[in-house]
């Protein structure tokens, strides 16, 4: 009995090894472990054995059955894996063929700059305001300390709609509107991006439509040193942490003192190059302390409140930051231009 079982095991395992596909393996399983198989037969003949032999042979028969089953399972796993590998081989594709294009749009470069500047000032606690583009001459000029006959009106030849309405020449009227909205008794920290218009013939450096960002801070005890501090912070975040700024006296009717603000040239690091006309500095914005007349006209008591304002041309910033050489690019919307700039 024992010899027979051992021979069966050897024979079955041999057959298992020989099986080269799942079907022939299944045949081996049926042949040896099936209801009509030799092991079953052995177990069925157990009754003829002596009580002493019965458990010994029984145990042996079970071991043989298990060994064959294990061999079958192992072989099955091997064969399945081989089959899968063969299947996967067949599924192989040419990974060097191009992928399916996903159409990607993008923001306009001016929007990118505006949002970047907005985010910088939001971080400093400023809010974002808007105002009308068709503005009254009161808000565009008078509330900003430019009376009817003021010579500074020379500087901005404007698109008038009626005698008293015009396309705003600057985003500054939003300053006056915001001060009015705040009733002369609350602190203000705001910036205002927007489109402005001037009577200029479009060329590489002039555009009858362009974009400004205006900023205003009004509070008790605002100092010119605060203006310097905020603009240094801003310039470094926008142009790089190693930038320096300098102020040059200038004139705007709605600020006094008024300054123009230069940042160290990023092309030459302040050493002097063609971009900065060998000065090492590039003008980026105009600023100043809010004129007492402007505060007063908008309901703020200049004895109690002071403030600063600043304004920059977005196209200019974009041209400086990205080296764009013609302002008209921003408005012709050539897809080959627009697609060069994606948000970092």
């Amino acid at each position: 009995m024992r010899e027979k079982l051992e021979a069966l095991q050897a024979e079955a395992i041999e057959k298992v090894q020989q099986a080269d596909n799942l079907q022939s393996l299944q045949d081996v399983r049926v042949a040896y472990l099936g209801k009509k198989g030799p092991i079953t037969e052995v177990l069925r003949g157990m009754g003829k054995l002596s009580p002493e032999e019965r458990p010994v042979i029984g145990e042996l028969a079970n071991k043989v059955r298990e060994a064959i089953a294990t061999a079958l399972d192992n072989k099955k796993n091997l064969l399945e894996e081989a089959a899968l590998n063969e299947q996967l081989q067949k599924e192989a594709i040419d990974v060097t063929l191009p992928g399916r294009p996903v159409k990607a749009g993008g923001p306009h470069l001016l929007t990118s700059i505006i949002e970047e500047v907005e985010d910088l000032f939001l971080g400093m606690g400023f809010e974002i305001k808007e105002g009308p583009e068709v503005e009254t001459d009161y808000f565009n000029f008078e509330a900003l300390n430019l009376p009817q006959d003021h010579p500074a009106r020379d500087m901005q030849d404007s698109f008038y709609v009626t005698d008293h309405l015009l396309l705003r020449t600057q985003t500054s009227p939003v300053q006056a509107r915001t001060m009015r909205e705040y009733d002369g008794n609350k602190a203000i920290k705001m910036i205002c991006p927007g489109i402005v218009y001037r009577r200029d013939t479009d060329d590489a450096t002039h555009s009858h439509q362009f974009t400004q960002i205006e900023g205003l801070l009004v509070d008790k005890n605002v100092r010119m040193s605060d203006l310097k501090g905020v603009l240094l912070e801003f310039s470094r975040k926008l142009f790089g942490a190693d930038r320096e700024i300098r102020l040059r006296p200038s004139f705007f009717p709605f600020t006094e003192p008024s300054v123009e603000v230069d940042v160290t040239c990023k092309v030459c690091d302040g050493k002097g190059c063609n971009v900065c006309k060998h000065t090492g500095w590039i003008e980026i914005l105009g600023a100043g302390m809010v004129h007492s007349n402007v505060l007063r006209m908008s309901g703020y008591d200049p004895e109690e409140y002071s403030g600063f304002a600043f304004g920059m041309g977005v196209e200019r910033i974009a041209m400086l930051k990205y080296g764009v050489d013609d302002i008209r690019h921003f408005y012709t919307n050539d897809v080959r231009f627009l697609s060069q700039y994606h948000k970092a």
Partner: protein, 808 residues
């Protein structure tokens, strides 16, 4: 303003500073130096020569063969200038000389004859043709007879000068004079200002016997002073004066005119010289012009006056447009013998009006309209009288005939050290403030840290505390102000819901493959009449028109972004960029009035335009062109961003394809349009199939609910039923979908179209549409009976309303 440094040196010491350094200091303290120009740095070896003989070149009609004596030697030089004659003193560039523009002078043979140098015109020496005196414009320059032979020309013609060009802001009218610039430079360098000598000898005649002055309106003309200078000889002015005028950009004319211009440049005070004998009445009456009155000005233009100009008259007719330009009828000419010199103060606004009306700008009007110094009027007149005596041989009559109600008082401004420091964030001391005021040459009284400043009348721009603050800050130096951060209460900076939504919508559209554009708001009238969205049209609005457009192309504010976007597509397609998707989030301007009197409504629109291939993968043979459903899908996406549900309805819209256009509505209100451009519009813009959308995004953002209420996430299973219907081919799937939704009752969560078919196995004129209806109740499991009941109701309704049949 052009500032000759050689000239400036006469009023302030700038010997120990280079022009570049000076320019930098001036710029950093308040007046931008826009350029630094050396007149003719390269002119060497050019000297004064005497034309000993001048004969025609043997082989050339138009050339002269000259012998030029330069003191040490005589050179044979061939010269083609028509005005060269024997006996002149001229500028001779000798062999080895260098002229501006890199020209090198060498010995040469001209038509067989040797020439050892060149006789120069002023232009050849580097002087701008505009400023060259007329008599020398077409030929060589001739020096005065008493010029010493052999003198280097650079010295005589001021060619070694350096000219600073100042970019003056409107507040700094004080720097429109050499003395004004001298005060500025003196403040920066801490120097004194040297004043010109203004005294003069008088004749026995009294001015009051020679002329009378009457001013009708003291507001317009608070001071009018008339000097009379007799027996003048009209001649060229001295060379140095001509040099300075040319450096300042003024063409020399004759001694009398040059002197008035020279004094104007020194003091910033306009003067005018009349030919005394042409003022036949010997009477000056200053009054407002009469409407329709005529005057011929010095530029030979006849001007019809409007009535609000100030005119100088002889009692009968105008002889000058006050403060702007003189009249031809009283002009100084070569045979003028006696001069009536005007030194006056006119109201800035009146001059500005007058100059603007007649579109006539002069050196005089530029100064008057910005405000002149009341304390320099008489001084300038006196200085001119002195120069007329010295350089025109005139005899100055005693006294000035004047009308005088001029306020010459200095304004008082109070400042204190603490306020200055509080506003600047500095720690400037009382002593420093006193020192700055001294440098500025402002008078002041000091009581510890309180200052009462007497602002000199030359600085008409200063009247308030902050004006003084600026003076102190700029002289103290902006670099010396520290960097601080505002100390006020902290605010939280945050985008408003709408600002946030705007960014979100832009990002969505970029993700959807569209490129953002920014186009012009100003457009043509024609464009305001095309492709306007139905929701704008139904508001009966008018476009805003500019009063004085620069071009027809940019004459009106837009009513729609679409024409600009379509134009942008066209621009790109013309450059072989054919597959394009654009969007713009921008404003349109809607007026309720045809003749605008009030500000229009400015409202935000979100518009897009697409053309060409939308998706392409050539090797997989996939290619999808933009079609209506691509555009509509984007519009649906926009609504989804706002958590809103649009309704689309077939519509006829001008400029759009009649069968491929839908209005977009929300809650029964039309809010926009989506569709294909009409083929004729496409053709006009050279475009192939193009789809656009245009939405009233301002309204849609208003409808957005910031915090939507929580919707229970369903825990119970859903049930779906498919319904395939056969309907007339003209039936609209969306209408049927709405019927299904409504008839299905509250349990219907979603109705989706999964198939549309027309063709084989389908009766002609019919199509099949298949819907999947999803049923769900978040609170319980549905029963077969209730789904069945809903389904049956749906079938009944679609049969009744849409003449639909169930597809077998």
């Amino acid at each position: 303003m052009y500032v000759s440094l050689n000239w400036l040196k006469q009023y302030v010491d700038i010997d120990n500073i280079t022009p570049e350094e000076l320019a930098e200091r001036i710029t950093r303290s308040g007046i931008e130096v826009e350029s630094i120009e050396r007149v003719a740095p390269e002119s060497t070896n050019v000297v004064v020569g005497y034309v000993e003989s001048c004969e025609q070149h043997p082989n050339a009609d138009k050339l002269n063969l000259c012998q030029i004596n330069v003191g040490t030697e005589t050179y044979q030089i061939i010269c083609g200038a028509p005005n060269i004659t024997q006996g002149q003193k001229i500028a001779a560039a000798l062999p080895g000389a260098r002229l501006p523009g890199g020209v090198k002078i060498k010995k040469a043979k001209l038509r067989g004859v040797e020439s050892h140098g060149m006789v120069c015109s002023l232009q050849e020496l580097g002087i701008d043709e505009k400023f060259v005196p007329k008599e020398f414009a077409e030929g060589i320059f001739v020096f005065p007879e008493d010029t010493e032979i052999g003198t280097p020309v650079a010295e005589l013609l001021n060619l070694d000068d350096v000219i600073l060009e100042l970019g003056l802001t409107p507040n700094r009218a004080d720097a429109m004079s050499m003395l004004g610039v001298a005060y500025e430079v003196a403040a920066i360098l801490n120097k004194e200002v040297k004043q010109p000598e203004e005294t003069y000898q008088t004749s026995d005649n009294k001015a009051t016997d020679l002329v009378s002055v009457k001013v009708e309106d003291a507001e317009l003309n608070p001071y009018y002073g008339a000097f009379v200078i007799e027996d003048v000889t009209i001649a060229p002015s001295p060379l140095w004066m001509r040099n300075y005028l040319m450096a300042a950009g003024i063409r020399p004319i004759n001694n009398v005119v040059d002197i008035t211009n020279y004094v104007l440049l020194v003091y910033g005070q306009p003067l005018h010289a009349f030919d005394y004998d042409k003022v036949a009445t010997k009477e000056i009456v200053v009054r407002s012009a009469k409407e329709g009155e005529k005057i011929q000005t010095l530029d030979d233009q006849e001007r019809t006056l409007k009535g609000d100009e100030i005119v100088i008259t002889n009692g009968n007719e105008p002889i000058a447009l006050a403060g702007v330009m003189g009249g031809a009828n009283s002009e100084v000419s070569d045979d003028t013998k006696n001069v009536l010199l005007e030194a006056a103060f006119f109201d800035a606004r009146a001059i500005r009006r007058s100059s603007k009306h007649h579109n006539l700008r002069s050196e005089a009007s530029a100064r008057y309209e910005k405000g002149i110094d009341p304390n320099r009027v008489q001084r300038a007149g006196a200085y001119a009288a002195r120069l007329l005596a010295a350089y025109a041989g005139g005899k100055v009559a005693q006294g000035v005939v004047a009308f005088d109600e001029l306020n010459r008082e200095e304004k008082q401004v109070k400042i204190d050290t603490a306020s200055v420091n509080n506003r600047l964030g500095t720690t400037i001391s009382d002593e420093e403030i006193a020192s700055i005021l001294t440098k500025l040459q402002f008078g002041f009284e000091q009581d510890n840290s309180q200052f009462t400043v007497s602002v000199p009348t030359r600085r008409g721009d200063i009247s308030l505390f902050e004006d003084m603050l600026e003076e102190i800050a700029r002289i103290y130096g902006y670099d010396n102000i520290p960097y601080t951060l505002p100390e006020g209460e902290a605010f939280a900076g945050k985008l408003t819901t709408k600002q946030h939504l705007k960014r979100q919508l832009k990002q969505y559209l970029q993700g959807a493959g569209l490129m953002e554009t920014i186009t012009y708001s100003l457009t043509s009238k024609v464009r305001t009449e095309m492709l306007v969205s139905p929701d704008v049209l139904e508001q009966e609005v008018f476009p805003v028109k500019l009063k004085m457009p620069m071009s027809e192309e940019h004459s009106h504010l837009r009513l729609s972004i679409i024409p600009e976007l379509v134009d942008t597509l066209s621009y790109n397609v013309a450059r072989n960029q054919e597959n394009l998707g654009y969007f713009e989030f921008g404003r349109v301007f809607l007026s309720k009035e045809e003749q605008i009197t009030e500000q229009p409504t400015e409202t935000a629109r979100l518009a897009g335009a697409l053309t060409g291939t939308w998706m392409e993968q050539p090797w997989q043979q996939e290619k999808k062109s933009v079609d209506f459903y691509v555009a509509k899908g984007i519009v649906e996406g926009i609504f989804a961003q706002l958590d809103l549900e649009p309704v689309f309805q077939q519509a006829q819209v001008d400029g759009y394809h009649p069968g491929r256009t839908a209005t977009v509505s929300l809650h029964g209100k039309v809010v926009g349009v989506v569709g294909q451009l009409h083929p004729t519009v496409q053709k006009a813009f050279d475009l192939k199939e193009t789809y656009v959308f245009d939405l009233d995004i301002a309204y849609l953002m208003d409808q957005y609910e910031e915090v939507p209420s929580f919707r229970t996430i369903p825990r119970h299973p859903s049930v779906t039923r498919d319904i395939a219907l056969v309907v007339d081919e003209a039936a609209h799937a969306g209408d049927i979908q709405r019927t299904i939704q409504e008839a299905g009752g509250a349990l219907v969560q979603q109705v989706q179209i999964f198939d549309v078919y027309q063709g084989e196995h389908m009766e002609a004129g019919k199509k099949s549409i298949a819907y999947t209806v999803l049923y769900q109740d978040p609170t319980r499991t549905l029963t077969d009976e209730e789904v069945e009941a809903s389904y049956n109701n749906i079938i009944e309704n679609v049969k009744a309303k849409h003449d639909a049949e169930l597809r077998s």
